[in-house]
């Protein structure tokens, strides 16, 4: 189990997760890299500050569960699982290839540490409700974390789960919604107006925090508050993030759900990431 509390170390972790993701992107020449870069800070805090787990035993009974509802973020989670020592680093080169344990869309049956099969969006929170109920039945201290995307808020099933988590007062469920305001057909708020999100979730009985998801101190504080909040309510962290974060030319690229990166740009991106770290 790893628990590091000092933010500079977390910055290193976030850097390594971004770097792993870019290296995987280069293997296939594609991937949801802009999303991976935007969520790396959240994953760094989740895996190196907040969650309990054993890298050598991904199904350790007392681990915190992490559900990746937005299966297309798999490249980001693999990057974190590699950094956490759950997936060996050398498998990075197999990303998206035949026989790889790292398919482009996350699936539980492929990858150690992957707790659900995503891809079809809007599944994660419903599973999390069942896991939350199951952990309580077992009187387990473990928590269930669920990462999902703002586009998934369009799915009715997400609100079924949000309503039931409030009904069952699942204080062991921590949701993280990545608001990068980009989904397949355009800016999420334009595709389907989901604001005011804080008020909506509060009305459903959740303890809600909204933070800059690329501010490590804010992410740490939000996870800490989500764990320690005394009310018997499920907890939601709304993380506003910047797609492409950490690679300036990708941050500035015209926003798209699936950002195109030319073959020669992967090395440039890695260099830009490195330069940003030293700055």
């Amino acid at each position: 189990m790893e628990t590091l509390t000092n933010t500079p170390k977390l910055a290193d972790r976030a850097y390594n997760i971004r770097r792993n993701a870019l290296r995987m992107g280069e293997v296939q020449g594609q991937g949801y890299i802009a999303q991976a870069l935007d969520i790396s800070d959240v994953l760094a805090v989740a895996y190196f500050h907040t969650m309990r787990y054993r890298p050598e035993d991904p199904s350790w009974e007392e681990r915190d569960r992490f559900l990746l509802s937005n299966g297309h973020y798999a490249i980001a989670l693999y990057a974190a699982l590699i950094e956490a020592g759950i997936v060996p680093e050398e498998e990075l080169e197999t990303y998206g290839s035949d026989e790889s344990r790292l398919p482009m869309s996350g699936m539980a049956s492929y990858t150690p540490g992957m707790e659900m099969s995503g891809g079809s969006l809007g599944l994660g929170l419903s599973i999390a409700v069942g896991i939350g109920l199951g952990l309580k039945r077992k009187k387990s201290e473990a928590r269930v974390y669920t990462l999902f995307s703002d586009g998934e808020l369009d799915e009715g099933s997400v609100w079924e789960a949000i309503q039931s988590a409030g009904h069952y007062k699942l204080d062991n469920l921590i949701g993280i919604v990545d608001v990068n305001n980009q989904q397949a057909d355009g800016p999420s708020t334009q595709v389907m107006a989901f604001e005011p999100l804080v008020e909506k979730l509060q009305a459903f009985g959740w303890f809600v925090q909204r933070i800059d998801g690329n501010d490590l101190d804010a992410v740490v504080a939000a996870f800490d508050a989500a764990k320690s909040h005394p009310a018997p309510k499920p907890r939601m962290i709304i993380a506003d993030t910047l797609m492409g974060k950490g690679v300036p030319f990708l941050e500035q690229r015209e926003k798209n759900h699936f950002i195109r990166v030319e073959q020669h740009e992967w090395q440039l991106a890695l260099a830009a990431l490195e330069a940003g770290r030293q700055a």
Binding site: S117, I127, G130, E160
Partner: protein, 336 residues
């Protein structure tokens, strides 16, 4: 284009009831109340991992019996079938064995992707138990699950069960609990006919059972159509037709060995009878099996038509669509 029906003419027979919940038991037939609910309570006494879940249909799937006995092991998920099956996957992931109930239409048509992705793909130990299978409601297509078997047969990892009566339901609850993996089970609820107890029948997962032997025709059937076939035997006998009945409660995986053995006996017409559309159910499964295996008996199907079924009283509809006892006998005589 959708056309609106004509109004009933004076003198036309008055419709009886097109209620959502109608009993499939005939007048005076021997029945048992809520066999699933009672069997689940019995199972849960020795299996602490059993939990019950429903989407606002506890009372209508006989799960209320379990809820009353084990209130802290019962999860009401509200009228939200996608959540029901997603959460069932989560509880199964934590080592529990959820029996999740709703109507067959909602599990198969509304929550299909959730069952496919969160239960079947991950091979979770969830038992999906669904009332109103096939044509067992007169309420119209919203509650008539004519295609549920086709949909769940097509799903990898899924075991599919279509029981005949209360006797079988009591046996298959522990039977499917002993099987590790997802199961879709059609449910008969309320006052459920008891038929198979008179035939020394024992349910075994994956096994077809010859209930009656006969030399002229082999009726292969599942669910309530086995009851119909057995009821039709007397009429057929009066017309000197000697019929065998092979009951196939496990639709998937199919007991190919027994089916091929019985269908391969020469000189018999093979009739597959199912409470399901002609498309993708037991009939087509057996037809494909026979073709693949080079067994080619004369073959007929008794099944619901490929159309949206009418609302109406169940006896009327079962006659109209050829799955009543009288219609089973009539069609078989016609084909011989």
């Amino acid at each position: 284009m959708k056309t609106v029906r004509s109004a009933p003419q004076p003198g036309m027979p008055r419709p009886t009831t097109s209620a959502m919940i109608a009993s499939i038991a005939a007048e005076g037939q021997k029945t048992k109340p809520a066999p699933f609910g009672h069997a689940l309570v019995e199972l849960a006494r020795s299996r602490p991992d059993v939990v019950g879940m429903t989407a606002d249909l506890g009372k209508y799937t006989d799960l209320h019996i379990f809820a009353k006995e084990f209130p802290d092991r019962y999860y009401q998920m509200g009228m939200a079938e996608q959540l029901l099956f997603g959460a069932a996957s989560g509880l199964a992931a934590e080592g529990f064995m959820p029996f999740a109930t709703t109507y067959a239409v909602f599990a198969s048509r509304r929550a299909y992707d959730f069952i496919h992705q969160t239960i079947a793909e991950e091979d979770r130990n969830v038992k999906i138990v669904c009332a109103l299978p096939g044509l067992t409601s007169g309420y119209g297509p919203s509650h008539q699950a004519a295609e549920d078997l086709a949909l769940f047969r097509a799903m990898p990892n899924m075991t599919v069960i279509d029981p005949c009566d209360a006797h079988e339901i009591e046996q298959l609850v522990p039977g499917i609990a002993a099987h590790q993996g997802p199961v879709y089970m059609r449910l008969l609820r309320g006052q459920v006919p008891v038929v198979l107890d008179e035939y020394d029948y024992k349910f075994e997962l994956g096994k077809a059972k010859l209930i009656r032997d006969g030399k002229d025709v082999l009726i292969i059937s599942s669910g309530i159509m086995t009851m119909r076939a057995l009821e039709a035997l007397q009429t057929l006998k009066n017309d000197r037709v000697d019929a065998a009945v092979l009951h196939v409660p496990t639709i998937k995986p199919l007991d190919a060995e027994t089916i091929l053995r019985e269908a391969g006996k020469s000189g018999r017409l093979v009739v597959v009878a199912e409470n399901h559309t002609t498309i993708g159910g037991l009939g087509e499964a057996i037809a494909a099996l026979l073709m693949r295996s080079g067994v080619h008996p004369p073959f007929r199907q008794i099944a619901l038509p490929d159309e949206f079924l009418d609302a109406g009283a169940l006896p009327t509809l079962h006659d109209r669509y050829g799955i009543s006892t009288a219609e089973v006998a009539r069609q078989i005589k016609l084909w011989l």
